[in-house]
Chain length 70, copies 2
DNA sequence: TAAATATATACCCGAACGGGTATAATATGA
DNA sequence: TCATATTATACCCGTTCGGGTATATATTTA
């Protein structure tokens, strides 16, 4: 569903972190991490970026339903 | 500064729309459009997506400071 | 199976987003 | 120049995010 939420969940698991550990390390609330990974749409962008930054990413405009390569 | 804000401003001007017109067509508040284009970080993601959608884009994870091609 | 770990759901509540609006500043054009 | 259009700044205020916390559910492991 939500691209960003899936990305965070994937990267987090790939890093072998629990939601709690990731919340701690990123300085975000556990509640927020959960809502983000579950695809909540009305999250705040700065918090999203704070999470993405942990994996060297930021939120940016990407073509709808389109693929993009790094 | 903010990638998304710059993107919206660019696309909007390219489309020959004023902030007011764009706010109307996108169903967003004029206040929000301005804050977004001025790089406000603490905006809500769903509103950002509502704006990006007008130009066929959505917010997604992109490599930090990295280029990406469509 | 049971115990332990991880994730999900529900609540309280302070802080702040964002719509609307009014006014100021800036840009554009005749 | 002056008039108009566009953008920026400031305020009020209802709605809601998100931190923290407690509890329930699900998953993993012995």
């Amino acid at each position: 569903m939500n691209v960003i939420g899936m990305f965070i969940r994937d990267q987090r698991k790939r890093a072998g972190l629990t939601q709690e550990e990731f919340a701690l390390r990123s300085g975000l609330g556990l509640r927020f991490i959960r809502e983000l990974e579950q695809g909540k749409q009305t999250v705040r962008l700065d918090k999203v970026n704070q999470a993405l930054k942990m994996f060297g990413h930021v939120a940016g405009p990407v073509p709808m339903d389109g693929e993009y390569r790094t």
